[in-house]
Symmetry: C2
Subunit: 301 residues, 2 copies
Amino acid sequence: MRMGAVVVERITVVGVGLIGGSLALALKQAGAVREVTGWDQNREHLHCAHALGIVDNIGADIGSAVADADIVILALPVRCLAQVAEQVLPSMRPDAILTDTGSVKEAVVAGIEPVAGNVGIAYVPGHPISGTEKSGPQAAFAELYRGKRCIITPTSSTPAAAIETVAQLWRCAGSEVVLMDVRKHDRILAAISHLPHMIAYALVNSVSNYDEYEENILEYSAGGFLDFTRIASSDPVMWRDIAMENRGAILEMLEQFETYLAELKADIAALDGKRLEGFFRQSKLSRDAIAGSAPTCTKGD
Amino acid sequence: MRMGAVVVERITVVGVGLIGGSLALALKQAGAVREVTGWDQNREHLHCAHALGIVDNIGADIGSAVADADIVILALPVRCLAQVAEQVLPSMRPDAILTDTGSVKEAVVAGIEPVAGNVGIAYVPGHPISGTEKSGPQAAFAELYRGKRCIITPTSSTPAAAIETVAQLWRCAGSEVVLMDVRKHDRILAAISHLPHMIAYALVNSVSNYDEYEENILEYSAGGFLDFTRIASSDPVMWRDIAMENRGAILEMLEQFETYLAELKADIAALDGKRLEGFFRQSKLSRDAIAGSAPTCTKGD
């Protein structure tokens, strides 16, 4: 996609925070869209996004905000996606495309696809693997998606042309687009993102509640602990929602993790130096192989 | 301690890698010692440390390297400490002090203290909470210990004057010295350092061995996973030794962690949003409270 090639005339971004706002900025900068309309339940965010030039105009209500769009992008917390989709679909043009940025896909697709099907509108489930620890329109920037992956999880009923249009948008924003089965997406994300978050939250609670000594032992933490637990500072509401929406895959990954932890524990208890060294060496090999393969980000990716 | 005030005339550093080399450089820069002798089983490291000016001279053998020292500092892997202490103690001056930098203390003290007691030499167990992911004399730098904590874990038989002399050295190197019970040290370190390392190693093995799909799902990892698992790139031999030397405390912390993980798992299985949000919020509060309280380091701290 050459810079400046228009993909669609008008898009509407519902949810003008870091994720939606950054996509709007990237697409405008790339010349991929002519006009961006914004909508947000948070009126302050909406007016801020307008003032910052993230969106060109704002709708009077959510229905009119989406009425003229070629593509409507729902950049909202996973728990709101299906409900907001139900709100916007009746107001959309029949030839328009609905897409989203949710970090869990099986539950979201199950919620949105039948409703979109009822009104004959193409729905393309998407998930950009990027973010920062910040949120809101002030945090948005055009480069957020550059060099990152965006996963699209079409089903058998997703029209190929709609997939290609949404993929083009993400490529214009600088991302590499990967098509993936929706179930696989949720398991991969559970493994590389949701599981680490669950572990980090449990670790911090475990250590901070260690009360053999009358002081907060977290005060002794050095850089290793701080790096390791940074993701435990993530938004509790967002992670509550992800944990609930991707329950099956997360429980599966937690059980797999527990198996490995039990193996390690048994080797420590048995003072089996050979197995311990092998366990650590295998882990180091796997970790070193991905070192530096992606820049830092901490959103629900 | 003013800059330039000499604490002792001569020290000998056994093990001239990152930890021992950096301490030598810091003490020379601060004018806290007049002469540094070095020893290392690795002759290449030893000559490198000499060439870099980390040590002023090198011993012909380990016995003569320590013979004239006021303080002998063992900066070696935890598993070697007791054995090397047995080697050096007979050659040391009776009024000299032996100290070490091992990141596990109960097992090390149990190994060294009786031997030091037999020859009437004061032994001061120490552990500087700092390091980098690098190693060897080339990685040593004088600022490593600045603004960091050094924990000294004396027993009832450690002479107060010897504790104060070793504490002064660490203060000259820029550290804050904390005196702590040896058992407490090992439990705190198990909680804030050893447990996170065990978890990171188990997580990477767990995720990299997830084989439902015919590809390495680690390739999808974004920054959050990379930050979280950086410590799984640590030295397998060093961590094998720490896991074995601090077995009791690490197993205790692993069990406490498993309890919290089980609670979280039950809340996810029950789709208990209120408890999940509370769990994540409590963790975020604890983690945010220590944010930025210490700079990055990744050694066995």
